[in-house]
Symmetry: C2
């Protein structure tokens, strides 16, 4: 098979980055973020857990998906991390084998001010 194994998601482009970081994976540009899509991505307890943990405990940097300690099969986690990235909630970069995630705080605060505060204040349903 050719080297173009990558499949392009519709209306998703890869932005450039100033630092020496790895290129982010394909993600929607800020201007294309849609409230209904972002809310849909956040309407799931597992994904809320991920985003909230990134917001509260990330210490200014991104994390591989093992860091979250989620008790789910790897393929399930891939699914949810991809959903968050494609909705524009997170940015993912490839560090060797690891694919680390961070919340697009600036982009989300610009487009949907206050939304991340609600996520940070969220608490999972008791039991």
């Amino acid at each position: 098979m050719p080297s173009t194994t990558r499949r392009a998601a519709a209306a998703i482009k890869t932005p450039a980055e100033p630092e020496g970081l790895p290129q982010p994976l394909p993600e929607p540009p800020v201007g294309d973020l849609r409230l209904e899509t972002v809310l849909g991505a956040l309407s799931d307890p597992l994904r809320l857990t991920i985003v909230r943990k990134l917001l509260l405990e990330s210490e200014q940097f991104d994390h591989p998906c093992g860091w979250f300690g989620l008790d789910r099969p790897k393929s399930s986690l891939t699914h949810h991390f991809k959903a968050l990235r494609e909705a524009g909630v997170t940015r993912q970069r490839q560090y060797g084998l690891e694919r680390r995630s961070q919340v697009r705080v600036d982009d989300l605060n610009e487009r949907f001010p206050g939304l991340l505060d609600l996520v940070a204040a969220w608490m999972p349903e008791p039991q």
Copy 2:
């Protein structure tokens, strides 16, 4: 069949109201509102349209669902209005034949401050 035709949705109770208004239909109490549920209810363009229109044009009162001018079959509208009410986003009261909706502004601002501002600022996707 007996007069108890009403089916009780799980964990939904009917609160009391001070004024001479008709009783609201069953809805979750403020304390039971869940962020993930509310976001899920708002992650749909049609429902965002409904809530935004209520927020911006309601003139302090509630409206029957014909007022929205939505070009959908009646049974579809029933479905979406019920989804909004059961998520706790709207309150519905029966006025004779009409079932009118209003946004639970105070409840939502108490539990999820800023969320309704995002809905009010939302714009439907062009085209």
